[in-house]
């Protein structure tokens, strides 16, 4: 670094190799604790195992069994239904909340934001425990609130049937999925809202003014300015929340237990994976289930990104 020339070449040298130096600590740890377990589980997918000691190579037999396994099919159906319902309720709610909270005239915005985000602070296991108590028949808070409100409504409008106080959310097969969706809506709507709020703040103010000059009403402004402005973030939330929904495990595991509720009504794919791997002890078949899920979710993500046109810009 004594002469300008050597300083420049030193700069060039370090500029060329710096990124490798910066990425390498991550890569080393990632190779050991990210990549290795993943590849190991890929290999396991072709083995039948019984506990950690016995491994027998079975080729594609695990995958063939998967195609005819009724429990796996139930799990896929449940998980797909949950993903559609959960994403379909969480995203519109989150966007609605974000739109309300981004109004310029609103006072106490931080407090509302904190209130809506607060369910996410306690974590899935905690939420599972909390809601399994709230869903209790007779005494549970949810049934008492619903029963109270619908009874009042019934007095005014006879068409409204009161919700019975002994509604068995977690032991009626038809109500298990709604219970999970309600719980996840409570937990995640405020979380996605934060992303939407950040995206809404980044939309160019001038565009709204231009739209107003052109005589666009609120709804037209939303369609022409807001939606295109928040599109990349919306795609991001859509894809990540879909992936997260397909990996649902803790909530049903805590709320329904190993048995996954009546008639396996709350059995998700990852729960089935956990049961086969760690309860039955067949880590090989569990890996098969996991990899099938991963590939399926990858396909869904790619379709989502293609349909929403995420390829055309830098959506990430």
């Amino acid at each position: 670094m004594t002469s300008p020339a050597s300083g420049l070449s030193w700069f060039r040298l370090q500029h060329r190799y710096a990124p490798y130096l910066f990425v390498s600590p991550f890569l080393v740890l990632f190779a050991a604790f990210g990549l290795y377990p993943i590849l190991r589980s890929l290999i396991l997918a072709f083995y039948a195992t019984n506990g950690p000691r016995s491994e027998v190579y079975v080729g594609l037999a695990n995958f063939r069994f998967l195609l005819t396994d009724p429990d796996f099919h139930t799990a896929v159906r449940n998980t797909a239904l949950y993903a559609v319902l959960a994403v379909g309720t969480q995203l519109p709610t989150a966007l609605g909340l974000a739109l309300l909270l981004s109004q310029k005239w609103l006072r106490g915005r931080e407090w509302f934001r904190l209130a809506f985000f607060s369910p996410h602070l306690v974590g899935q296991v905690f939420v599972g425990v909390l809601f399994s108590v709230l869903f209790v028949p007779q005494y549970g808070l949810l049934n008492r609130a619903l029963h109270g409100v619908t009874s009042q409504l019934n007095a005014a409008i006879p068409a409204v049937q009161p919700v019975p106080l002994d509604t068995k959310w977690l032991s009626n097969p038809d109500l298990v999925m709604p219970a999970l969706v309600i719980t996840s809506l409570w937990m995640y709507a405020g979380f996605h809202m934060i992303y939407f709020l950040a995206a809404l703040q980044a939309v160019d103010r001038d565009l709204y003014e231009a739209a107003e000059v052109d005589g666009a009403n609120g709804w037209q402004q939303f369609l022409a300015v807001t939606l295109p402005g928040i599109k990349p973030v919306t795609i991001f939330i859509l894809v990540t929340s879909t992936i997260g929904s397909f990996q649902l495990f803790e909530l049903p595991y805590i709320m329904l237990g190993n048995s996954a509720g009546p008639n396996n009504a709350g059995l998700t794919v990852v729960m089935y994976l956990y049961n086969t791997g760690f309860v039955t002890g067949d880590l090989g078949y569990a890996s098969t289930v996991g990899w099938t899920l991963a590939l399926g979710v990858l396909a869904i993500s790619l379709v989502q990104m293609r349909l929403t046109g995420a390829w055309k810009g830098d959506a990430a």
Binding site: F26, F33, A286
Partner: protein
């Protein structure tokens, strides 16, 4: 004039709706706090707090203080090694955050501001691992930690959690916002690009904390 009134009404409806939604959202948490102050007999007997000492009566309506039983809290520390558990969590979370911040900021910076061979490969690798559910790698991870002698240690919790794909992406995104001209100007001090990333530590701490408090940590099997 009537348009002004309409605007006022619309705003009032907005406030009312938001307040109602916020109340519904917070009710389970309030119920939870109330539940922690009640004994098992009172848990479902009173909807929220158990009524305590009378304060005053207005028009036949008696206002009472809530009766707060602290036994749940004292029992927690008396019958469980809970203080120790919390210290474990705090230590592991703190260490994980520091290591994560260091590695994630380095990698995020490289991925945001450099073009180098293999960059696309690294990014693709990172994204694809997000698709694998955690339970798939649970068993191989445990076997690996066992081989390395890291089971039942704090290090066994910190090291696998030290790299966060999510963290790297957050850093990359915020560093991308920094204009290159600014970067060139401050190339030597290299402090400016951190400005956009200041929100990251709290998220990382929160994630690490939750991760550890909510999973049965190997370190806690050793007891107090």
């Amino acid at each position: 004039m009537s348009r002004r009134l309409g605007l006022q009404v619309r705003r009032a409806v907005c406030y009312l709706g938001l307040a109602l939604l916020a109340a519904v959202t917070l009710t389970p948490l309030v119920w939870l706090v109330a539940a922690s102050t009640k004994g098992p007999d009172d848990l479902f007997h009173y909807t929220f707090f158990a009524p305590g000492r009378e304060l005053f009566t207005i028009a036949g309506f008696t206002v009472r203080l809530p009766s707060i039983a602290v036994t749940n809290f004292t029992d927690l520390f008396a019958t469980q090694p809970f203080l120790r558990n919390m210290m474990n969590s705090l230590f592991v979370a703190g260490a994980t955050v520091m290591v994560q911040l260091f590695f994630s900021s380095l990698a995020g910076f490289a991925l945001a501001k450099y073009e180098f061979k293999g960059k696309r490969g690294v990014m693709l690798l990172m994204i694809s691992t997000m698709l694998i559910p955690g339970q798939v790698v649970m068993a191989p991870m445990y076997a690996l930690l066992y081989k390395l002698g890291l089971v039942d240690t704090h290090l066994g919790l910190i090291v696998p959690g030290a790299v966060s794909v999510f963290g790297i992406f957050l850093f990359r995104q915020s560093i991308l916002q920094v204009p290159d001209e600014l970067l060139n100007k401050f190339w030597l001090s290299a402090l400016k690009p951190m400005k956009g990333a200041k929100r990251y530590p709290s998220i990382s701490l929160l994630m690490a904390w939750l991760e550890i408090t909510l999973t049965t940590s190997p370190a806690s099997t050793r007891g107090s």
